[in-house]
Symmetry: C2
Subunit: 338 residues, 2 copies
């Protein structure tokens, strides 16, 4: 069997790896129907996170269960399932309070950019679709494994609600799906910060009402101008850089809500500025598992098509080209078929 391995900066190889097997009685093995490259995969790819030894890549997946451990009782071989990038038992107090991505028993789910993969805590982590999905639905379902659930969390954590004015900082796949999520939550106005025309177009298709091309202080000034000098009710930070975080906090009205859902990279928030900004701030690894039942339903019913963020599809053998296309921003998000 072959899988995706990162050997060092910009050195991704599809090469021989061990076939995954049940290591714990709570595990399941899945035949991967589709996987993809995440914005966060680019941090180690670009060398911003060190890779001291070769590392298996991929944490977004959906597919068919082929084997389960002895302690797995809900998930059955043959089911089509989707899971999150963190495993969760769904029984601990943190899971029960709605934060399965911080489950006390969580493990990082990895090695998904391959034909087969192991998923820990299968009964908690995986959610089965009502049946075998048609091929055309697979990209939509795949997004629920991370990027759509993360956009949805961005909207929830920033308390997007009917009629509110929303700003989305970032036009990557998460930002675009944060726009879609804000639209599904009936936001009154959705301002996306983007300077790339194809991404602006997709944002508008997902429900954005306004585009701000400025960055930094100029972007903040534009938002203030558009909101009677006050700032937006909800600001969704979907990048993870210092500039994006400050742009988000400064674009928000006092007493408003800022969410941040991309892993922050060298971000420091000044306590005194945050204090006087008066915003609510909430973020973290999206509790994607919590949203799976509802979002699967919306995809299954044809209500949403988050898979539109995939603008490049490759056979998994060409995974290295997928990373390159995303690194060079030639693609918004790359779908890989084993």
């Amino acid at each position: 069997m072959k899988g995706t391995v990162l050997h060092g900066p910009r050195d991704v190889r599809f090469e021989a790896v061990e076939v995954p097997s049940i290591l714990k009685p709570t595990d399941a093995i899945i035949r991967v129907a589709a996987t993809c490259v995440c914005g966060s995969d680019l941090w180690p790819y670009r060398g911003h996170w060190p890779t001291p030894e070769p590392v298996r890549m991929g944490h977004e997946y959906c597919g068919t269960v082929v084997e389960v451990g002895d302690a797995v009782t809900k998930v059955k071989p043959g089911q089509f399932v989707i899971g999150s990038f963190f495993s969760s038992d769904m029984t601990c107090p943190i899971c029960l309070s709605g934060y399965p991505s911080s489950c006390v028993d969580r493990e990082q789910v990895g090695a998904a950019q391959a034909g087969m993969m192991r998923v820990p805590l299968a009964d908690g982590t995986l959610v089965a679709t009502p049946g075998t999905p048609p091929a055309a639905m697979i990209p939509d379902l795949l997004t629920l494994s991370d990027v759509m659930g993360t956009g949805w969390f961005a909207a929830e954590a920033a308390e997007v609600a009917p009629g509110k004015t929303v700003v989305v900082v970032g036009d990557g796949a998460v930002g675009l799906l944060a726009v879609l999520s804000a639209k599904l939550k009936d936001a009154g106005r959705i301002i996306v910060m983007s300077r790339h025309e194809p991404r602006q177009n997709l944002a508008r298709a997902f429900g954005a009402t306004d585009v701000v091309e400025e960055r930094g202080d100029a972007a903040v000034a534009r938002v203030k101008e558009m909101t009677g000098g006050l700032g937006a009710d909800s600001v969704l930070e979907c990048v993870g850089t210092q500039e994006a975080m400050m742009q988000a906090i400064r674009s928000c009205r006092r007493g408003g809500h800022v969410s941040f859902v991309g892993v922050p990279h060298e971000v420091k928030i000044d306590g005194q500025e945050l204090f006087f900004s008066h915003v609510h701030l909430h973020g973290g690894p999206a509790p994607v598992r919590r949203y799976l039942p509802e979002l699967i339903d919306r995809v299954w019913n044809g209500e949403i098509h988050p898979g539109k963020v995939f603008d490049l599809e490759l056979p998994i053998e060409d995974v290295a080209e997928g990373y390159r296309a995303m690194d060079e921003r030639r693609a918004i998000k790359v779908l890989l078929r084993p």
Copy 2:
């Protein structure tokens, strides 16, 4: 007339100042019944905030209206009133959304450590008591001008609710009244971080169930031990230092709520740590004005006695001794009578 003036580090004088007068038609002039020294007054007093020129001090006050400007229609001479440290119009969108301390028309209210003072935007800023209060009630009412309202905001911003486990970081007057506020909101368990016996005793009198004397990582470890390894539901940071902020974030369970209500002094929050802590973070200048009607009611009915935080009372002429007593932590909070 005399008032309190800070000339430089640890140089507070009660000296001749101008008699306040109506500067804008929305102003009121108050004869101050009682005022006090705030923890935040100690920042400039200690020289941590620069004082390039002499500055009038004091922002906590209650007293009797003696004069109002032409545009003031609700507040009347003769009324006993309490106001916040920021003026507010109570009509702008930020006030209407519950954040009068970030009112778009706000001014800092100052020069309260004196016999008379000017209050801007009097109709919005001031709330009258149902009648002239008995002398014994004045300390309780005075706390509503800042310190009790700030403790109350700490509890609200950290979403304290019946049965929750709460940690209060800080045993200053705000921390102690945050304990009282958590008790009034029916918290199940209230853990106060304090190593000063008189403050521990007052905290217990206000409703604290547990005291943690450790600091830093050891304090966090104690809280984890007391909460099944998870951390507290709500953590109220009432200090404003880096150590207190990190102690608060690390003492909170994932998905829990951290509030911070003391002006942060050289605090930097690491984005990645905040991300993986998964907490909600909210703070800022307490919207004290929002709480005045409810809290006046509770004091008027004799339900609460937040004035217990005053453990030293001085004639205002001795204000310099009041600052010294708080600086040296000989007093929790000093009440000054003009």
